[in-house]
Amino acid sequence: MRNRIEELRKQKGLSQDGLAMALKVSRQTIGSLENERYNPSIQLAFRISRFFGVKIEDIFIYEEEIS
C-alpha cells in the first residue's frame, strides 16, 4: 500500500522523531511506514489521518495486487 506520510510530514516541517512522538509510535515505525515496508493498523491509520487533518483514503492509496 502506498502512502503520503513523508510528503505530509515534510509539509508540516516535522522530523520523523517529532511525528513519532506525536503519534506515540517509535521512529522506526514512521521510517517503515514512509518506506512502505509496513502497513499500519486501522487505529494508527486513523491517528495519522486525524493528526494531519486529512481523510484516510487521501493518505493511504490502496492498490490491489496483481498475481
Binding site: 513519532a20 506515540k24 509510535v25 517509535s26 522506526q28 515505525t29 509496513y38 499500519p40 494508527l44
Partner: protein, 135 residues
Amino acid sequence: MKKIMGFVLCVIGLILLMGSIIAYLQADAMNSLQIVLNAAGAACFAFGAANLYDIYMKGSRKGMRYEIEEKDERNIMLREKASYLTLQITMLLIGAISVVSFAINALLPSLLCIGLLVLQPIFMALFQKYYSAKL
C-alpha cells in the same frame, strides 16, 4: 505496589544467595540445598531487579520513549514473529536432543523431550482456540 514488590523480591533474592554462600562455607561440596537456594535466589533477584528497572524506566524522561517503544504496534508484531521463529528453532533443538538422548540410551531425557514435542502442538491448538473465542 510494584515498587515494593520489586524491593522485596530483590531482598529475598539476596538473602537466599547469602544463605547459599553460608551453606557453601559450612559444607565442602555443593549440596542440593545450595542448588535450590542459588536458583531461587537468582530468580527472585533477577525478577525483582527487572521490576525495579521497569519502574525506573517508566518514571524517567527516557521512560516515555521506552513505554512508546514497548507499546509500539510494529514492535509488538516483530516480537510476535520473532517469538514464533524462536519457538520453531527451540522445538527443532529439542527434537535433536531427543534423538541424541535416545541414541546414547538416556531414556528419561529422551522421553521428556518427546513429551515436550507432543505437548507443543496441543498447547498451540488450545491457545489458538482461546484467542479465536476472544477475538
